[in-house]
């Protein structure tokens, strides 16, 4: 076996077993036939193409009713909402970075790149440019994973606290990748195929932008000057407490500024309203898709609190051990599987109840 063949085989492993059994050897033959004489490594485009379709095949295999109109509508809705939320959080992180220092730091530039990618992905998803949104969201999710992995050696706590966000990113990108090409809907399924109206999509994006911009707006409104910290870094000084803002205790929305909390609550209210307006079948599936990220956030607070509190006190850093990795990796998968199963069971019960009455 040549090195090239071995590398192609490694790429084909990303496909689900069923797909490999049906097409694996045949695909390998095509890949080898298409290789140039003396080629030693798979080409970049070929590699990306294989990985993208392998991911798509896996996601389809993972969704028991992945091609039903309700699942497709849920994938479309969650793909957009997940991208919009990820964009909001990345933009907010940029805004916070900008409000502490007047110029873009390296970290803020990296976050800004992520924010741009998520914003474009959310916009494309909002415009129903399915393939563009899937590609952009996949790139953004990979960037998010890279950012977390890069920080891990020096800051393992950040990986744990950002794990839910990574799960959200993967779920949003995965939803868009798994979304089948748009079909011409029959009139009776049209509402399920178009889960979010234009107003809902605009409302989510505007509320996201407001929530993201709140720290910067606060900083601008209360700016009083800068202070040199002695190492050549200017730090922004605010007129604190400013007359029109209130400091709140440490809040889940960020720095504890009132406007940040208010805009965060507005965003949550908009998201909740949009989800509540979905048809019940689509809503249940959207919640099943959102559940893994939410579950990870709960698990991190519940089971990793000791680790999060104690790790920063040790030098050198204390890294995660195998059981902790397993919990982080298995939680989203198991929660999604359980959610999809519960949705199916619930609807089978409703259907059987309807038959009996």
């Amino acid at each position: 076996m040549t090195g090239l063949e071995r590398r192609y085989r490694r790429l084909l492993v990303w496909y689900p077993a069923g797909h490999r059994a049906a097409y694996g050897e045949e695909m390998l033959g095509v890949l080898m036939a298409g290789s140039a004489p003396g080629q030693r490594r798979p080409g970049t485009r070929e590699t990306l193409d294989l990985l993208a379709f392998a991911l798509r095949a896996r996601l389809r295999a993972a969704l028991p009713a992945g091609r039903s109109p309700a699942w497709n509508a849920a994938l479309e809705a969650f793909g957009f909402l997940g991208c919009a939320l990820a964009a909001t959080l990345a933009l907010r992180a940029c805004a916070v970075g900008l409000s502490y220092h007047l110029r873009l730091s390296d970290a803020t530039v990296a976050t800004a790149a992520l924010a741009v990618a998520w914003t474009l992905a959310a916009t494309a998803a909002g415009l129903r440019l399915r393939r563009t949104a899937a590609v952009l969201a996949t790139l953004a999710a990979l960037g998010q994973a890279f950012a977390v992995a890069e920080r891990y050696p020096s800051d393992p706590v950040a990986l744990v606290t950002n794990w839910w966000l990574l799960v959200l990113a993967v779920a949003a990108a995965g939803s868009l990748v798994a979304l089948p090409r748009p079909a011409t809907p029959a009139p009776e399924v049209a509402p399920a195929r178009r889960p979010l109206d234009v107003g809902s999509r605009i409302a989510v994006l505007v509320a996201g932008l407001l929530a993201a911009g709140a720290p910067l707006m606060e900083a601008v409104a209360t700016f009083s000057g800068t202070m040199d910290t002695g190492d050549g870094v200017d730090v922004v000084v605010w007129t604190v407490p400013p007359p029109h803002t209130l400091w709140l205790p440490e809040s889940p929305f960020g720095d504890g500024l009132l406007s940040t909390v208010v805009t965060g609550l507005v965003l949550l209210a908009v998201l909740a309203t949009v989800v509540l307006r979905l048809t019940p079948m689509v809503r249940r599936r959207v919640l099943a898709l959102a559940a893994p990220a939410a579950a990870v956030a709960v698990v991190v607070v519940g089971f990793f609190n000791g680790y999060l509190q104690s790790t920063p006190r040790f030098d050198p850093q204390v890294y995660l051990v195998a059981p902790q990795w397993i919990v982080l990796a298995a939680t989203p998968v198991l929660v999604f599987a359980a959610g999809a199963w519960l949705v199916g069971r619930h609807e089978r019960r409703i259907a059987s109840g309807a038959l009996l009455t």
Partner: protein
């Protein structure tokens, strides 16, 4: 392309198989030839399309061969696939005719405006 119809790549794969049963790599080369080099299918995309076309009954396996220790599976168009390709071709022809007619009228109007 929406989907009453087929997407362009799937349409080209069906067109390729309309000539004769072909294996995967031959389809890639044929699609490139038919599209005059504009569409270059990669292996992942090709097998996603072949899988979908098989699922929907538009193509089926014709035969398998082992050439230089490698599996070659030949695919052929089914009756349903031929019907669907014919319908799609007719629809595209109608669209193209409509576009050409309107462009001609546009040209006439412009020439009239210029004169």
């Amino acid at each position: 392309m929406t989907d009453t119809g087929l997407r362009e790549q799937a349409f080209l794969v069906l067109t390729s198989l309309a000539a004769e049963p072909q294996h995967g790599y031959a389809v890639i080369e044929d699609v490139q030839r038919i599209s005059e080099g504009r569409v270059r299918l990669h292996t992942g995309s090709l097998y996603a399309i072949l899988d979908r076309l098989r699922e929907t009954g538009l193509i089926e396996v014709d035969r398998e061969e082992v050439v230089a220790s490698r599996l070659r599976r030949y695919y052929r168009l089914t009756g349903l696939g031929a019907t669907r390709l014919a319908e799609e071709t007719e629809a595209m022809r109608r669209h193209a005719n409509a576009a050409a007619a309107r462009l001609r009228r546009l040209d006439v109007a412009r020439e009239g405006g210029a004169a």
